[in-house]
Symmetry: C2
Subunit: 323 residues, 2 copies
């Protein structure tokens, strides 16, 4: 069993590095923290690495202050574990720590994983890397600590859209039940994750909704956030995240678009699809990228120009959908 092989490597290693991806999310951070806790219970200390800052919404988790972004200091780990990374590039600057390690393990759930380590524990049926860490912890320890369970619940909840996305499996729910049995307070965790907005973000959402425009018989919804909106509300650029879903989640909308004016007057656009239109292709037309259901692009033009070009492109895509 691959899990036994991985656990054996844990036990044999002395200096362990755990590394996750740039722009870390709940699954990245929760999985790393849980893995570090499990290793501690086995008697191993591990150093945590992430190129970018841990989002404030995750700071309620114990240990988020332990992440290092610098690759200075110790570089000679006998084991480096990449967590939630489909390839080495996802580690950004911290890939150097991985490259310098004597042995490497890759623990991930992305179907696009390229098996870049000596040992690859990859399960694309897992809705989150946290589910794989759970299996490791359970196999070795039987019962997980409350702190580990809290980190893993965060990992799974965030990567499944709070157990709503199609990636969620019966196993995801069963693991959540087991994690609750470890004594976690899911109301507290979900309040921290989903119900703690800065007032500036709420004001920005209000501004964005005031800009709502619908086209093509309500099939296209466009929200716009200008630099003035960011300045007048005091919101941060990162607080525009997820606002595009307010466009997508309207009855009849097939494509939701958020246009964010950048400081230089150009546009960062986000696209969400309710299924019929492949917004990955749409983004690619404008030099961007993403998936069928979620994508984005940077557009070197003004907001009105970007809107006009996008509407034409989406109208074409809607036309092709009907044929």
């Amino acid at each position: 069993m691959i899990i036994d092989i991985v656990l054996r490597e844990f036990i044999q290693a002395e200096h362990i590095a755990i590394i996750t991806h740039i722009q870390p999310d709940g699954d990245a951070v929760g999985s790393c923290l849980a893995l570090a806790e499990i290793l501690k219970e086995i008697g191993k200390d591990a150093d945590l690495f992430c190129q970018d800052r841990i989002p404030a919404s995750l700071s309620f988790l114990a240990g988020t202050d332990q992440f290092k972004s610098e690759t200075a200091g110790r570089m000679s780990y006998d084991l480096a574990i990449a967590v939630d990374c489909s390839d080495k590039e996802r580690m950004g600057a911290c890939a150097a720590v991985f490259d310098n390690a004597g042995n490497t393990i890759n623990i991930d759930h992305h179907i696009s994983n390229v098996f870049f380590a000596n040992i690859n524990l990859v399960d694309s049926n897992a809705a989150a890397t946290g589910e794989i860490i759970y299996q490791l912890g359970k196999a070795r320890l039987g019962k997980l600590s409350r702190q580990t369970a809290e980190a893993l619940y965060t990992a799974i909840s965030t990567d499944t859209g709070s157990f709503c996305f199609s990636s969620t499996t019966p196993q995801s729910y069963r693991i959540a039940a087991e994690l609750m049995d470890c004594g976690i307070d899911i109301e507290h965790i979900t309040n921290m994750l989903y119900k703690t907005n800065r007032v500036e973000r709420m004001r920005l959402l209000g501004k964005a909704l005031q800009s709502l425009e619908l086209y093509e018989n309500n099939q296209i919804a466009v929200l716009t956030i200008t630099q003035d909106d960011l300045i007048s509300t005091g919101a941060m650029e990162s607080e525009t995240e997820n606002i595009v879903n307010y466009a997508k989640d309207i009855v009849g909308v097939k494509v939701g678009i958020l246009l964010k004016e950048t400081a230089d007057g150009s546009v960062k656009a986000s696209f969400r699809s309710n299924g019929g239109v492949d917004v990955g292709k749409l983004a690619a037309q404008f030099g961007g990228g993403g998936h069928r259901a979620a994508s984005g692009a940077s557009m070197q033009m003004s907001v009105p120009e970007a809107k006009s070009e996008l509407l034409t492109a989406v109208q074409t895509a809607l036309g092709e959908m009907i044929q």
Copy 2:
């Protein structure tokens, strides 16, 4: 076992009525539909009763058109089953059907249930009445149909705030896993339940957020919806639901308030607490009602007057909290 007694009554009955509460929610409707399906598999047809209309957001469930609000027609059922009702009054006008039945069963999960039927299957540890219906169906049928599972998932998801409220138990997650094993599409269901907003509601939310005011060092957040807002956006009064949570879910807020101006110029106020202040008591001061965390009141005064009186009352409550 009480479950066996209830199942025996199902089998012995010929004409069965299932009745749920006024202003039905997802647990009420989902539990009734699932129970009717289970009875059908046992070979029994049941009539469904609800005084009020089924919310449009639940119309994706098979069978919602079967609910009758009138108490005319057949009134002589040999078995009436009250579902998700803590007392007889919760059935509104449909309590007459219950009163006329030869035998009665009360299936509910509210701790306040007053055991008003011949047989009372009440489990206050269940996060939703849907969990109790699940146990009934499983005990009798082993495996549930996809249609039954869809109704029960709706019941449990809506009553647990999508598996986030503190009422959620490990059992809630385990039942969700079993329901997924019956082949339901949870992404479709949750899209229907939570991600299908009328554009008018989105515009109303935008207006409401524009009105956001904070007091007492951001401990009190107030949103206001005027008659003008409803008219200019075309939103329905029912679409103000949950908007108060946008006030509650702001960092540091202890009490979130939504003031809705009514057609006669008075105010319907909704209150939400993040724990410290008992908003049930707050509502009671103004002739309203509710619980510690969620409550409301009708106030015969203008919006500015209501705001002023409420701020004074909440400031007092906050002061008492610190002592």
